[in-house]
């Protein structure tokens, strides 16, 4: 019964496709994106329903075997008026999961918001469950509330607030299942910065988090990016935990492209973790560390890329509370990585990666070989990967050994609005002797557009790009034909 209910997620797409008065725009050929780009002239609806079934078997620490086979499904939906006037849109993404062996259906609304913007899009108000890119390493913040963004010439002003959400996972322990998560905190923040400047990006943001009625975090983050002569980009960030009066991160990096096809970069970072002021974690002081990294990548030809990078991390000397030094822990570690990627044709690539780690924390050498293909305009996707690595560390001898794994993935689009795929992984290690995972996915997706004056438009999907996007070419004359209107 649960399975049937879950599969209901998959129904909307083909049902909508069968209705008249709209045109199904099919799968976008753009890699990794399923939104079909339209022409900005109408009201459109886009949706995707997907299902992913995974079987996982893990040999546990107590030598038992734990298997789970959750079925995840989701539905994404967007309806908008993209004509060049006041913009109104609604967008939502929901998903649900059930373990077919144990039950325990979990439903979740990832996003659901309404966007309103005036003509010219110089302002935007978003209400509902949404994401904002926040300060420092906090990355995203997902919350229920409101946000606004004003783009006043080159001045950007952002403000947001609401109840903060944490991604909830579906956890199974024996016969029990539960949702993880930190519950709801209040969060609010604002930022000022620049927008639309060619070579300069600046943002100053302040974010507060209220937990259990108390101010738990107050983070200030300043970002400055500067492009110089089209050759050099400088990135910098300063993040401060104002409540704990701690410099959380200071970062500066420089990337240069002195000649076509060559990238050279260097970075410095100081990092010290900080925790909520209401948390006991804050009592246990932590050491900052400094990292310096460098990287070089070259694209000598359209079909070939290669890169190498390395860095050093410096840690404080390990000294116990009794002032006993422990030099065995080391104060520095080094890392070096290199890779080469060959793309003989646009739809095929082969990549080889190598990595070495030495110093504090142990020694490691690793090699990975992968290949991927997306022939027939991406309608078939195949990927294989193999990894092998050796790890050794005197202070954690129980983790020493050879680690490895292989992965095979195949997916295809028999018709533009359906994608089916499967993936298998096998992993070996001295720690968990085996781990096997197989996954099957089915995606339905579709875009619908109501065309002005064409209510009888067909409910068909394009196997090839729409005619108004086909490139124009000449045959036997001078001039051009066709249009991107």
């Amino acid at each position: 019964m649960r399975l049937l209910l879950a599969l209901l997620f998959l129904i909307p797409a083909p049902v909508l496709a069968a209705r008249g008065g709209v045109q199904a725009t099919g799968w976008d050929a753009e890699p990794e994106s399923w939104w079909l780009k339209g022409d900005g002239s109408g009201v459109y609806l886009q949706g995707r329903a997907w299902a992913r079934y995974r079987f996982r078997s893990v040999r546990t620490a107590t030598d038992g075997v734990v298997s789970d086979h959750p079925l995840w499904q989701g539905f994404d939906f967007r309806v908008a008026d993209d004509r060049n006037r006041a913009h109104v849109a609604f967008e939502t993404s929901v998903r649900g999961g059930v373990d077919l062996g144990r039950g325990g259906f979990v439903g979740e609304v990832l996003t659901a918001f309404v966007d309103v913007a005036p003509e010219g899009r110089w302002a935007r108000v978003r209400l509902g469950r949404q994401l904002v890119a926040t300060n420092g390493r906090g990355g995203f913040s997902r919350f229920d509330g409101g946000s606004t963004r004003l783009s006043l010439h080159h001045l950007l002003i952002e403000a947001y607030g609401g109840t903060d959400l944490r991604s909830r996972a579906f956890v199974m322990t024996g016969s029990d299942s539960f949702q993880t998560g930190w519950g709801r905190d209040w969060t609010y923040g604002f930022a000022v910065g620049t927008t639309g400047l060619r070579d300069t990006q600046f943002r100053l943001g302040l974010q507060d988090r209220i937990r259990e009625g108390k101010l738990a975090r107050r983070h200030l983050s300043i970002d400055l990016h500067k492009g110089i002569k089209g050759v050099v980009n400088v990135r910098s960030n300063l993040s401060v935990d104002l409540l704990q009066r701690r410099l959380q991160e200071a970062f500066v990096g420089i990337d240069a492209r002195p000649v076509q096809g060559l990238r050279v970069g260097a970075e410095y970072e100081r990092w010290q973790p900080s925790f909520d002021a209401t948390s006991v974690w804050s009592v246990f002081d932590t050491d900052p560390y400094d990292t310096i990294r460098g990287n070089v990548s070259v694209d000598p030809a359209r079909f070939l890329s290669a890169w190498v990078s390395g860095g050093v991390q410096l840690l404080p000397s390990a000294v116990s509370a009794d002032n006993v030094a422990r030099p065995e822990n080391g104060v520095a570690s080094g890392t070096q990585q290199a890779g080469v990627r060959v793309r003989p044709v646009s739809w095929l690539h082969v990549q080889l990666d190598e990595r070495i780690l030495v110093g504090a924390g142990g020694d490691k050498i690793a090699l990975a070989l992968s290949a991927g293909a997306r022939p027939w305009a991406g309608r078939l996707e195949a990927e294989v990967r193999g990894d092998l690595q050796r790890y050794a560390y005197d202070l954690q001898p129980n983790l020493e050994g050879w680690y490895g794994g292989v992965m095979v993935s195949v997916a295809g689009r028999p018709v533009p609005w359906i994608r089916v795929g499967g993936r298998g992984e096998a992993i070996i290690s001295p720690f968990l002797t085996n781990n096997f995972q197989a996954m099957a996915t089915v995606d339905f997706l579709l875009g619908l557009r109501a065309y002005k004056g064409a209510p009888e438009a067909l409910a068909t999907a394009w196997l090839t790009p729409p005619p108004n996007t086909a490139p124009a070419a000449l045959d036997g004359g001078i001039g051009v034909q066709g249009a991107h209107r």
Binding site: E30, T194, G196, G227, G230, F431, I478
Partner: protein
């Protein structure tokens, strides 16, 4: 000493930035400006040296509002000077034989219709000219009305013979004037627009993407997946020019691990990386959601390992024997405190603070000797909520601190 080399590094970075050479010759996107095939003889320099103005031949530019409009002169324009109908077209000035323009094509004047259109009526045809339209939006009419000289955008045409895609303007050329003032600088000013006002980035399977010319957004950088957070944070508007929110969720809230970032054996080796912090786990992952769920399923959790809390005969498969130490004894090198101080957030990945309190509230004082003294900023911090995690109200230690 450390400050010195950090200072040196910063000065070095500044020096490199200041000494940066001018931008290398910028290649035009083959997606936006596809390859052309122009089997013609033509000398722009010679025509301009004769005193001709661009608009004489490219008269359609006056009324052109789209990049897809054909502005290439046809027989009618050429025929204003090159009298193709004349029987001695090959000898007269200016020459007007077929091969004068169509390289290697020996047609006959009889194939050409009368002026002014000079329609080709019969016989073999010259090799085709293939000039795909630029996939941008552009109005020659507007620019001419503003008095923009042709050579400002089509730089070098006056010094060349055949004009090709190399004489089309680059994005940097456009942005010389389109700074957001009188000339708008929105992406959609030039780029084709798609649904929701976002840019159209895909053209028959070929994709356009930023190359880092104006900001650190080089999507072709091998590190892009790992470093994109910074660019996304500082200029979200730029990201949203092409990407919808859903695009972020595909990875950030995906239920499928992305093997582009993590190798296939990642599930077993990520702990090593997390401890080494060669990657920033928390740029993408939530500790409780992403870490705890899998660890619980695999029983790599507290309580699953006998001996991790100080038993002498520890048999933990993850933490080494002696990890917890023995209260009162000098901690060994593999004592958890050293790892904790270096990477406390990795402890948080598995453990709640209750585990710490089991020992540190009874056997081992977590506070350093200097705690609570003047100058220790933690003293008196906040409203004491953190203190009450361990100390009960009325605790004399709290009273001493004024709590």
């Amino acid at each position: 000493m450390r400050r010195l080399w950090v200072l040196g590094l910063l000065l070095g970075l500044a020096g490199v930035a200041l000494a940066a050479p001018d931008e290398p010759k910028q290649e035009r996107s083959l997606v936006l400006m596809p390859e052309q095939s122009i089997p013609l003889n033509f000398d722009h320099k010679r025509h301009l040296d004769q005193g001709l103005q661009c608009i004489v031949c490219h008269s359609a530019a006056n009324d052109s509002t789209e990049a897809t409009d054909s502005l290439i002169p046809n027989h009618t324009q050429c025929g204003l000077c090159h009298r193709m109908e004349q029987p001695n077209a090959a000898e007269m000035f200016p020459k007007a034989a077929c091969s004068t323009c169509h390289s290697g094509f020996e047609g006959q004047p009889s194939q050409i219709g009368p002026p002014p259109h000079y329609v080709v009526t019969e016989g073999p045809r010259p090799p085709p000219v293939h000039i795909p339209p630029a996939r941008i939006t552009f109005s020659h009419s507007k620019h001419l009305a503003q008095g923009v000289p042709c050579l400002q955008c089509h730089e070098g045409v006056d010094e060349t013979q055949l004009a090709t895609r190399e004489h089309l303007p680059t994005m940097r050329t456009c942005l010389e004037c389109h700074t957001g003032g009188e000339a708008p600088s929105e992406c959609t000013t030039c780029h084709l627009q798609g649904d929701g006002g976002r840019l159209r980035t895909s053209f028959e399977g070929e994709v356009i993407q930023p190359k880092g010319r104006f900001r650190p957004d080089d999507h072709g950088d091998p590190r892009w997946l790992k470093i994109h957070q910074s660019a996304a944070r500082v200029d979200t508007n730029s990201c949203e020019s092409c990407h919808a929110t859903q695009f972020c969720l595909n990875c950030h809230d995906g239920v499928v691990e992305d093997t582009r970032l993590h190798p296939a054996d990642w599930v077993l080796t990520h702990g090593l990386e997390a401890q080494r912090r060669t990657v920033d786990c928390f740029a993408c992952h939530e500790v409780q959601a992403d870490c705890t769920s899998c660890h619980t399923a695999a029983e790599v959790v507290p309580g699953a390992f006998p001996g991790v809390r100080g038993e002498a005969e520890a048999t933990s498969r993850f933490h080494p024997p002696g990890w917890a130490g023995v209260p009162g004894e000098i901690p060994p090198a593999d004592h958890h405190s050293f790892q904790a101080r270096r990477a406390l957030e990795t402890c948080e990945a598995c453990h709640s603070v209750d585990l710490c309190n089991e020992c540190h509230s009874v056997l081992v004082n977590p506070h350093p000797d200097s705690y609570g003294t003047e100058g220790n900023w933690r003293f008196g911090q906040g409203d004491g909520t953190m203190c009450l995690q361990c100390h009960r109200p009325g605790d004399p230690n709290l009273s001493r601190l004024g709590r």
